[in-house]
């Protein structure tokens, strides 16, 4: 009980599910366990050895009819060994060994519940309902007696670890899953496609694959190479490597091609599933769950004799029900009930020794062969129909919800405009640090100045004048990157004042367009997902420029003031009007304006950030989280008929972790967008990162 979380121990639904399980373990003796699993465990544990399969052959005189992987064997061994001991003491045959095997499965069952709760934090109550009270889990594990819970647990744990950015450990756990049941291998290609489809996960693929393959090979190669009994078993029937005992075939559905040749449908559908997953492109974790669920479901529908394999569906059905609401839960329930009814018809009911009921006591099939066949066919058809509806519903829902930011369609475009010295490059770098290297590309307006620094024409134009910039090329190049096309672009070297030769810039998930005129060309503006305008309080801007040019560079105050005045008309004509086109206007203000009056003030200048947002549905929540989690001071002004909503934030001492935690609370599907280890910034830059992400999430709906 100590391993069970406190909230579960007092939960009536949990206790009900637990009571049902314990009662089933004690009372029911399922056929597959009585015939195969329990004798196998009992005989091999009675004379333990490194090769239990051959040990079984020697002690029982028969080749095993299923392949229990080493992990499955080791998982059940501690429980069943205790059961075996109890049987020896009580002289009760294998009764206690069977019950112990049931408790071993109950342990896996409980562990899977805990994994699913971690996977779906915040929805623990519904996980309990959809998993712990699922009739399918109860039927397959405790009525039919299959042991697929163990590989299913390892598969779910591997997915959880992958989601939690622990790819190597995920690989190790999946390798253990394969070591429990070889058929888990079927998910590996899907996982590789998923990792490849995400730039943020792509670099983790080798680590994941090596860990998984290493562990799986280490576990499976020695028994397959050195166990005579296994070799004998596989030589007589290779399908036993993956099939459950009692399964007629794993390629049940086929089409006769004539000449004795058959076309097996399942491998074709599996390959089509892989192709579909590849074509989807960038998959979210949600869609990965959907794709795996649908792939399994289709494989299962094409394997009518499978029962235990249906357990593999469970984590994905739970995820689907949690996301898709009551109708989905209803559909899953109907499918489950029909599935149980169909399988009850064709499988033997477990014995109930306490009530004196033998194996197969419940026979629902009519005695007449033809009627029985018709009933079976009818159930199989209804199941197939419902399964297809369920698969299509899961797929439609998964695709609808996938790719929250619409990155599969085109890159995310962020424009950052504003006058020199307002922090455009700082913000662009900070955003790039969030998305991660390799996921960001971009162009800078400086590279599109028409003249080098010594060019004579700078006497006639300021940099702010659109005529001094090749805005046509700037726009064309930005649009090319947004169409996933690489560009050739020269670079303005600020150190020399010269242009470098053109170099190739690749397209990527996020395109940052920064510059004095990033929101100036209408053709570019309308293609941006978020347009940012960086502003600065005019007094503050003058203060910083004078402090730098007079204080540090030794220019005369008059010259600096003249330069500011010379730029002012162009600033008002070409730069400031872009503010009206921005989705977000970020302005730095002095927290203590009195300091601006002292030109000799050399210490730090306390700042506040004013944020004006065109669309700000989460404004109140943002303000609350900034106050509560970051300890920032925030003034909120709601949007008026003609004014943008405004926040004034004083949070210079906010830490990167504060921003990270706040973003997790505030921005949905954040994990789809950010680097595996995003670089959050402290203070105002961090708050700007947060606001840009929030706007991306709010404005992204127009892309989808």
């Amino acid at each position: 009980m100590a391993l069970i979380p406190l909230d579960l121990r007092t939960n009536r639904w949990f206790l009900l599910g637990l009571a049902i399980r314990v009662a089933a373990v004690v009372m029911l003796v399922p056929e597959v366990q009585a015939q195969w699993f329990t004798p196998f465990m009992a005989r091999t544990l009675a004379a333990p050895g490194l090769d239990p399969w051959t040990g079984f052959l020697h002690h029982g005189g028969q080749v095993p009819e299923f392949f229990y992987g080493p992990v499955m064997y080791l998982f059940h061994a501690p429980f069943t060994a205790l059961g075996l001991l109890a049987d020896r003491l009580a002289g009760s045959g294998t009764a206690f060994t069977g019950i112990a095997l049931g408790f071993s499965l109950l342990a896996a069952d409980l562990a899977l519940l805990l994994v699913l709760r971690r996977m779906h934090e915040g929805q623990e109550e519904r996980v309990l309902l959809f998993y712990w009270l699922s009739p399918l889990v109860l039927f397959i594990t405790y009525w039919h007696g299959d042991t697929d819970l163990v590989p299913t647990l390892l598969l779910a744990l591997s997915l959880l670890l992958l989601q939690r950015n622990a790819p190597r450990m995920a690989g190790v756990v999946l390798g253990l899953g394969i070591g429990a049941k070889v058929s888990i291998l079927a998910v590996v290609p899907f996982l590789l496609i998923f990792l490849w489809s995400h730039r943020r996960h792509r670099d983790t693929m080798p680590g994941f694959l090596l860990a998984c393959a290493g562990v799986a090979l280490l576990l499976l190669v020695p028994p397959l190479l050195f166990s005579p009994a296994l070799q004998q078993m596989l030589a007589s029937n290779p399908r036993l490597l993956v099939a459950n005992p009692g399964m007629a075939s794993i390629l049940d559905v086929d089409i006769m091609l004539g000449g004795g040749q058959k076309l097996y449908i399942m491998p074709i559908v599996y390959l089509l599933g892989l192709y579909g997953a590849w074509k989807v492109g960038r998959m979210s974790f949600g869609l990965l769950h959907t794709v795996l669920g649908v792939a399994y479901l289709v494989v299962l529908l094409l394997t009518p004799s499978a029962v235990g394999w249906y357990l593999w569906l469970i984590p994905f059905l739970v995820a689907f029900q949690l996301r898709a609401g009551p109708r989905a839960a209803g559909l899953v329930l109907v499918f489950t009930l029909v599935l149980i009814a169909a399988k009850t018809l064709i499988t033997a009911a477990p014995a109930v020794p306490l009530l004196g009921l033998p194996l197969g006591w419940l026979s629902l099939l009519p005695a007449d062969m033809m009627t029985s066949l018709r009933l079976n066919s009818l159930m199989a058809s209804v199941l197939m129909g419902l399964g297809i509806v369920l698969a299509l519903t899961m797929l439609r829902r998964g695709l609808d919800e996938n790719d929250f930011f619409g990155l599969s369609q085109r890159p995310l475009a962020i424009g950052i405009a504003g006058d020199s010295g307002t922090g455009k490059d700082t913000l662009a770098l900070a955003m790039a640090g969030l998305f991660g290297e390799g996921a960001v590309t971009g162009i800078s307006g400086d590279d599109y100045h028409l003249f080098e620094r010594r060019g004579k024409l700078w006497q006639a134009f300021t940099h702010l004048d659109p005529r001094a910039n090749d805005l046509e090329a700037f726009t064309r190049d930005a649009l090319s990157l947004l169409a996933w096309r690489p560009i050739m672009c020269r670079h303005y070297d600020h150190a020399t004042g010269l242009f470098t030769p053109p170099r190739r810039i690749q397209a990527s998930d996020v395109v940052m367009v920064t510059g004095l005129h990033a929101l100036y060309p209408p053709a570019l503006r309308e293609r941006l997902d978020v347009g940012l305008y960086l502003d600065m309080d005019e007094g503050l801007r003058r203060f910083f420029k004078i402090r730098r040019d007079v204080g540090q560079r030794g220019h005369s105050l008059e010259r600096v003031l003249a330069s500011i005045e010379r730029r002012m008309p162009d600033y008002e004509a070409f730069i400031r009007p872009q503010r009206d086109h921005a989705d977000v206007v970020l302005s730095l203000l002095p927290a203590d304006p009195v300091l601006l009056e002292d030109p000799d003030h050399a210490g730090p200048m306390p700042l506040k950030l004013r944020v004006r947002m065109r669309r700000a549905t989460s404004l109140d929540r943002l303000a609350r989280l900034l106050i509560a989690l970051c300890g920032a001071q925030v003034d909120v002004t709601q949007a008026g008929a003609n004014t943008m909503a405004e926040l004034v934030i004083d949070g210079s001492d906010v830490k990167p972790e504060d921003i990270h935690f706040t973003a997790l609370q505030l921005v949905p599907h954040l994990e789809e967008l950010l680097a595996r280890r995003p670089a959050w910034q402290p203070g105002m830059t961090g708050i700007m990162q947060l606001i840009v992400l929030l706007q991306l999430a709010e404005l992204t709906s127009k892309r989808r």
Binding site: L6, D7, R9, T10, G122, E125, R624, L625, I627, A628, L629, G631, K655, E657, D658, F661, L664, Q665
Partner: protein
């Protein structure tokens, strides 16, 4: 919902007072997560091993509590961390102490969840026109941040922290301040919902309140404090029961 003293609970209340920590949200789990985050940060930044941290923190907490008695500051994590760093032989280190305090509260808040049904209960009681108050130990700064974070500040007419009262609830004063703020008259029926024994004793003593003990998961009959009038595990049960009383009269 278990009624222990039906006589105290027949009357519709004039106002309802709530405790915050471990009553409206579960404290133990988030506290563990928050301490783990602090421990890990101290290990990373100060190279202090967890056993050393645990020992120094325990000692620091005891010292602060002993020095400050039953006051809001005696619960102040900033003071605990400051003293802990001093005990580790690293002087006061205000920047590190502030960082650890922020790490603690940020982690606690982001991992804490209101108990299921708690917010709905507040909404429903408020909709019934009952004045609601929050009486809580600890400093106003952090308790207000929690209220804002959970988004439940809007449901309370008054909030009293032990910081403003000058002494913890055990010293009775916070309940007197709450009574004054709510302009309660002697004889007004008040309900108090909390988890700690001192809440029950003090609210009874000052306001003769009908007291409801929110039981922690797994708590059994022996965890019920003396003098409690009713206990409940789930807010939904309390709300369903309260409907009958609040709607009457």
């Amino acid at each position: 919902m278990k009624i222990l003293n039906p006589d105290a609970l027949r009357e519709k209340p004039r106002a309802i007072l709530f405790d915050l920590d471990d009553t409206l949200y579960e404290y133990a789990g988030p506290h563990e997560r928050a301490m783990a985050a602090v421990r890990s940060k101290v290990e990373r930044s100060l190279k202090v091993v967890p056993s050393q941290f645990n020992h120094a923190f325990r000692q620091a907490r005891e010292e602060v509590k002993r020095a400050l008695g039953s006051t809001a500051s005696s619960h102040n994590r900033l003071l605990y961390f400051q003293r802990m760093i001093e005990l580790l032989g690293l002087n006061s280190q205000p920047a590190i102490a502030l960082d650890l305090e922020q790490t603690y509260w940020r982690t606690l808040m982001t991992t804490a969840r209101l108990h299921p049904g708690a917010e709905e209960t507040l909404i429903e009681l408020r909709a019934a026109g009952l004045p609601l108050g929050l009486v809580t130990d600890l400093t106003a700064q952090i308790q207000f941040r929690k209220l804002v974070y959970f988004g439940i500040d809007r449901y309370f007419d008054i909030v009293v922290t032990s910081e403003e009262a000058g002494v913890d609830k055990v010293g009775l004063k916070p309940f007197e301040v709450a009574a004054a703020k709510l302009e309660l008259q002697p004889g007004d029926r008040i309900w108090f919902i909390g988890d700690a024994e001192c809440d029950v004793v003090a609210s009874k003593k000052v306001l003769n309140a009908a007291t409801f003990q929110k039981l922690h998961p797994g708590a059994s009959a022996q965890h019920v404090h003396d003098g409690v009038d009713a206990t409940f595990h789930a807010f939904a049960d309390f709300r369903d029961w309260a409907r009958g009383i609040v709607a009457s009269a």
